[in-house]
């Protein structure tokens, strides 16, 4: 039962994470207590595709960085008009990776407070 929940979670949310994080997430979610699943499902992850689109359309205003929670970088990007265009172009190629890394970190922090069933026994 628990395994299929993990599979379902990765099928739905898998694209929100970097490939190399998937196996760790799988191992960590396997054996998670039933009561903790609610918190995992409730997590709101950044959608890398949406962030990519926003970066292309409004990257020069730093909106992509604001959405990811990098307020300082967002302000810097806004004030410099996207780093005079250079930063905007660089972010087109970086922002999906940044979003996935942040999602992985967010999930890791959530799971850090949750013991799994094997640890309890």
């Amino acid at each position: 039962m628990s395994i299929s929940k993990v599979d379902l979670f990765l099928m739905v949310k898998g694209k929100h994470f970097e490939n190399y994080q998937i196996s760790n997430i799988y191992n960590r979610l396997t054996g998670l207590r039933e009561s903790d699943w609610q918190a995992v499902y409730m997590q709101d992850f950044h959608d890398p595709t949406s962030i990519q689109v926003i970066s292309v359309l409004a990257g020069s205003l730093g909106i992509d960085r604001f959405m990811l929670g990098d307020v300082g970088l967002g302000v810097a990007k806004l004030l410099t008009c996207g780093g005079f265009g250079v930063w905007t172009i660089v972010d087109w190629f970086l922002i999906q990776g940044v979003a996935k890394e942040k999602n992985g970190e967010k999930l890791r922090q959530t799971l850090a407070h949750m013991p799994n069933e094997s640890e309890q026994e």
Binding site: E18, N19, Y20, G83, G85, V86, W87, I89, V90, W92, F93, L94, G97
Partner: protein, 144 residues
């Protein structure tokens, strides 16, 4: 000019994507930044800095892209300011200038084609080393 070599390990899919992006980004930056040659160097430098803690494959290809842009900056800057001087009337339009510009265009086209080829091959996980730049990259980017 371009050699396919064996990399110390088989890179994962996410590594090949990032490595390939370093070449693609330098192309886009070069097109967007024309005629200023510094723009693509800055873009490649920022991309390299953001990936400096990445895996060896990603770092290696970001460094090769950066090294190639450094040499391109030198040659293109000379061409850019020589052209400005000719337009301002400070320097005459000479055969040397014409020869340099033709060479510069050919050099840029060769680099452009090589970059596209390398981006495609790197995306497939094939390790491509450029003549001279590849050896220089090995010196700058050790395996750790």
């Amino acid at each position: 000019m371009i050699q396919i070599r064996q990399f110390p390990y088989r890179p994962h899919d996410y590594e090949t994507e990032k490595a390939s992006n370093s070449y693609l980004m330098s192309l886009i930056a070069a097109i967007a930044g024309l005629p200023l040659p510094i723009v693509n160097l800055l873009a490649t430098l920022f991309f390299y800095l953001s990936n400096r803690k990445g895996t060896y494959f990603v770092r290696w290809h970001c460094t090769q892209a950066l090294v190639s842009q450094v040499f391109l900056l030198g040659t293109n800057s000379v061409g850019f300011w020589w052209t400005v001087s000719v337009f301002m009337g400070d320097v005459d339009f000479t055969n040397q200038y014409m020869g340099y510009m033709v060479t510069l265009v050919l050099f840029n086209l060769a680099e452009f084609a090589a970059t596209i080829y390398t981006a495609i091959q790197t995306r497939k996980g094939i390790h491509v080393e450029w003549w001279f730049y590849g050896n220089l990259t090995h010196l700058i980017c050790p395996a750790k």
